[in-house]
């Protein structure tokens, strides 16, 4: 079966202004949400305690809240997690208390109050200083990944392509973060890992398109930059959609069957794949085109008559 068995000739670049506007609006929304309400950081970053309990019967959230309140844990947030039997309790960092023992105290209180057995499924405690370090390290990790990629793409292609691919990456990361911010989804360590994976994935996509753009530039004798990029995008369209589809399939399987713990992770990946596919067509190529890439820029450096070779591999 062939999804696109004739040669397609969508005029992608013809709609690039509309796409640019569309992206700009989304980015603006994402950035203003990030600035105004920020991210709903999980305890990995803020510090605090998280306890997941499984009750034999349906867990009575109000009763649990009451028990916790009467024992002085006023700040506890109690929610169902995954099913009606399971409860997730979050406690913020409390000063001047032995934080590490907090989870045991809370569990002890609830066990005394409950008539049935309680199974402690998971406890996570992160001290405030550890959280701060993670936030810093996480930001640095993203920065290092971007720089590393920028260098590699500059070496393999040309600086305009590097800027194009990094623009697409920043676009993808910002939009994904934006969705987490707008809907106040919890942003924990696994989401950070997902974002870094998105950086890898989105780039993968962009590189494939760029590879084709470069090849088409070198192959075609005639035609303007816009036309050439359009041809390249159409040539790779079938592959772009196929790969996105297979990756989406497994991520959906992760989302549906992977359990509550990696829900946020799979949501981030789902978003990233959709946005990443779109951005490799519209953002990355758009930027390259806007920066005025031409055939001469992509010719492999030839050393004839001792001609100087520019930093970007072009001949001057």
């Amino acid at each position: 079966m062939q999804f696109l068995n004739k040669k397609t000739s969508f005029n992608f670049m013809g709609k690039r202004k509309i796409a640019a506007l569309f992206s700009a609006i989304l980015l603006l929304t994402a950035i203003s949400s990030l600035v105004m309400q920020g991210l709903n950081f999980g305890i990995d970053f803020t510090g605090g305690t998280m306890i997941e309990l499984a009750y034999e019967d349906t867990a009575n959230l109000n009763e649990i809240r009451g028990t916790l309140e009467s024992n002085g844990y006023d700040d506890a947030i109690v929610q169902n997690f995954g099913s009606v039997h399971e409860v997730l309790i979050r406690l913020p960092v409390i000063e001047s208390e032995n934080m590490a023992d907090l989870s045991n105290d809370v569990v002890a209180v609830l066990k005394t109050a409950s008539s049935t057995e309680i199974d402690v499924r998971r406890v996570e405690f992160v001290g405030p200083q550890v959280g701060e370090e993670l936030t810093e390290q996480g930001g640095l990790a993203m920065l290092y990944a971007l720089i590393g990629i920028l260098i590699y793409v500059s070496l393999r292609f040309e600086y305009r392509f590097a800027i194009g691919s990094v623009a697409a990456l920043v676009h993808d990361v910002l939009l994904t973060l934006g969705v987490f911010s707008v809907f106040q989804l919890e942003f924990d360590l696994t989401v950070l890992a997902a974002i870094l994976a998105i950086i890898g994935y989105s780039l993968n996509d962009t590189i494939v398109v760029f590879d084709r753009v470069r090849e088409t530039f070198l192959k075609m004798r005639k035609g303007g930059s816009e036309e050439i990029i359009n041809i390249a995008l159409n040539d790779t369209l079938s592959r772009t959609l196929m790969t996105s589809a297979t990756t989406l399939l497994v991520v959906i399987s992760l989302f549906v069957f992977g359990g509550e713990v990696i829900h946020a992770f799979s949501i981030a990946l789902l978003l990233g794949i959709v946005v990443g596919t779109y951005s490799s067509i519209y953002i990355a190529s758009n930027v390259v085109l806007a920066m005025g890439v031409s055939k001469a820029d992509l010719m492999p450096p030839v050393r004839e008559d001792g001609e100087e070779i520019g930093e970007d591999g072009s001949q001057v």
Partner: protein
């Protein structure tokens, strides 16, 4: 014509065989087991094994087998119930002081596989259940403790040298010594600078009282911190032994943190208590005038107290403490004049003075070293939960005083260098363990662990199935070939994880799932290229050739950039993220091989020899 040379085909086959071999041990379910290992003087040998087997038979508990595996003894059971019962039986059979009895899971790798060194991969705490602690050593306290002992040494030194000082006080990171006069100060500066080259000693200008400031040099500051960290690691290891954990991990992380992982531990409250306990040391004279038997019968002499030795023997010690561990500055295992193992101990000034007085009067008498752990316990008293500290003294060594002892002395009469080393460790740990705080805890209960395994396995399998079906529909025979490569890719990832004994975590499984999705990308690229070549009218054989050749650089670029992101993830990594990065890195590497070389080998096999084959793509 497309065909691979013999060596290329055999390379593919060799990798499939080796991958299969190393991945195979993961197919066998683990046995429930009880693990017995030696602490202190215990010997894990055939005698112990037959004792335990006899005890199990006496209680008619069925076991699958018992085996000696290096330093440990494993007894296997067919279910968790028998395992738990057996643990109690074994616990009461062996001497608790000398053995650690712990629940464990034992791999059931067949001998012929084990002969190749193939082992199943490790499961992370989130899959098998257990506790992960990140503990932080209070380095300020460690430095302060070091400065405190220097300040008392200064007192002794200055008094001995008859240099008159007004006061000595310890501040944040320095010791300030105030003198009566500038002459005294300068005299002291010369003397102290000669004695302590590990300290920076300078004159404090603009001070009413002539004063000196002593602070640790950069080097000795680093050393002090490092020692504090290492001592704490040693102390933690010793304490974990008490918890009876099968495969604990205690590792340094950064320059002031320690990671403690305890697989299978459920009672985190107890674990926290034991890990957070503080220990001290005491030296006491042995009471030789009274009979231990009388004391055991209840007639304990007024000036003495009953203690237990490590062997379990009772011993009578004087109530008066000769010296406490806080005066110990250092302890190291060495050899005495006769070349037998000993521990050399360095005391601070105050301790040395006190010690020399008592030992002068007691030459020829035996002296005991008592190791006291004080453990915090929350107990219910009068209906309220109260935190109580409980002291657990244990006599770790008894030696005869041969001489008047002072600042430096040796404990001799030890059985082995191992014992000397352990004693030195205990002494150091008891003397200078800087306080520790738990700064991170991640506990996963056994039920969640099993759920994570099931859900992880399911999502990999279902995602995998989706992709398989999708690929066959889209690319027919070529899709089926890509599917073979994908399956091989999974096998190779598992084989690599097992070979390197890496730890598989839930995020690691997510990494595998993601690799499955991305691994087909390489094949999609190749197949789309082949279709393009066919479309422009090239011959099938030329199309296959060109498809692989043209797609290669794209695949390489795409994978290398993803690899960069994965490596950054790994470098940044704390536990969860590292797990994800490891499988992603392995997945990228193996998928490059399977998707390019693997599929090509099969495609060549199917179409390579035919003249004008009709490609099913």
């Amino acid at each position: 014509m497309n065909h691979y040379s013999a060596w290329k085909n055999s390379l593919v086959i060799a990798i499939i065989v080796i991958g299969g071999l190393f991945a195979a041990p993961n197919l066998f379910d683990d046995d429930f087991a009880v693990q017995v290992s030696a602490s202190r003087q215990g010997n894990v040998d055939l005698t112990l094994m037959s004792d335990i087997e006899a005890a199990l038979k006496a209680k008619s508990i069925d076991y699958k087998g018992a085996e000696l595996d290096g330093e440990r003894l494993l007894v296997r059971f067919s279910d968790a119930d028998a395992q738990l019962k057996a643990k109690d039986v074994i616990n009461s059979t062996v001497d608790n002081g000398n053995y650690i009895v712990a629940l464990n899971l034992a791999a059931t790798t067949p001998d012929w596989l084990a002969a190749f060194g193939a082992e199943p991969m490790n499961l992370g705490l989130d899959l098998r259940g257990g506790v992960h602690f990140l503990m932080e050593v209070d380095m300020d306290a460690a430095v302060k403790m070091a400065l405190n002992s220097y300040s008392s040494e200064f007192r002794t030194l200055l008094r001995d040298e008859k240099i008159r000082y007004k006061k000595i006080q310890v501040e944040a990171n320095k010791v300030i010594v105030g003198f009566r006069s500038i002459e005294h100060r300068d005299q002291a500066l010369v003397r102290m600078a000669r004695e302590y080259n590990q300290l920076d000693i300078v004159v404090l200008e603009e001070s009413v009282t002539p004063s000196l400031i002593a602070s640790l040099t950069e080097v000795s500051l680093r050393e002090t911190r490092l020692t504090a960290l290492q001592q704490n690691i040693v102390t933690l290891r010793n304490r974990i032994n008490e918890l009876g954990v099968a495969e604990p991990t205690v590792q340094q992380q950064g320059d002031n943190r320690i990671v403690v992982q305890l697989p299978g531990v459920q009672d985190t409250a107890q674990a926290k208590k034991i890990l957070g306990a503080t220990a001290t040391l005491e030296f006491r004279l042995v009471d030789n005038e009274h009979d231990v038997k009388d004391a055991l019968a209840g007639r304990v002499p007024a000036n003495s107290k009953l203690y237990q030795r490590r062997s379990g023997q009772a011993i009578l010690l004087n109530k008066r403490v000769m010296l406490t561990g806080e005066h110990i500055i250092n302890a190291a295992s060495t050899l005495d004049q006769n070349g037998s193992p000993a521990v050399s101990i360095t005391l601070d000034g105050k301790g040395a003075r006190a010690f020399s007085n008592v030992t002068r009067d007691n030459i020829g008498n035996p002296m005991a070293v008592v190791f006291i752990e004080s453990k915090a316990e929350t107990r219910e008293i009068g209906g309220k939960m109260v935190k109580v500290r409980r002291q657990m003294p244990e006599v770790i060594n008894v030696a005869t005083i041969r001489d008047q002892l002072s600042k430096k002395f040796q404990i001799t009469g030890l059985d082995s260098t191992t014992e000397a080393r352990d004693l030195a460790l205990l002494l150091r740990a008891g003397a200078l363990a800087a306080p520790i705080d738990i700064v991170e805890e991640r506990t996963v209960g056994p039920s969640l662990g099993q759920d994570n395994i099931d859900q992880g396995f399911n999502s990999v399998m279902i995602g995998f199935m989706f992709v398989l079906v999708f690929m066959v529909i889209w690319y027919r025979v070529f899709g089926a070939v890509a599917n073979l490569a994908l399956a091989l890719n999974l096998v190779l990832i598992v084989a690599l994880l097992s070979m390197l004994q890496a730890t598989l975590t839930l995020p690691g499984i997510a990494g595998i799932v993601l690799t499955v999705g991305m691994a087909v990308d390489a094949n999609v690229l190749i197949f789309e290229r082949i279709r393009e070549e066919l479309r422009v009218g090239n011959s099938p054989q030329a199309s296959i050739h060109a498809g692989y050749a043209k797609a290669f650089s794209t695949i390489a670029d795409a994978n290398i950039t993803t690899m960069i992101a994965a490596i950054v993830l790994f470098g940044f990594g704390t536990g969860a993220i590292k797990g994800f990065a490891v499988t992603l890195i392995f997945g990228i590497a193996t998928s490059m091989f399977t998707a390019i070389v693997g599929t090509r080998a099969v495609v060549n096999l199917i179409y390579g020899k035919k003249n004008k084959p009709k490609l099913s793509i």
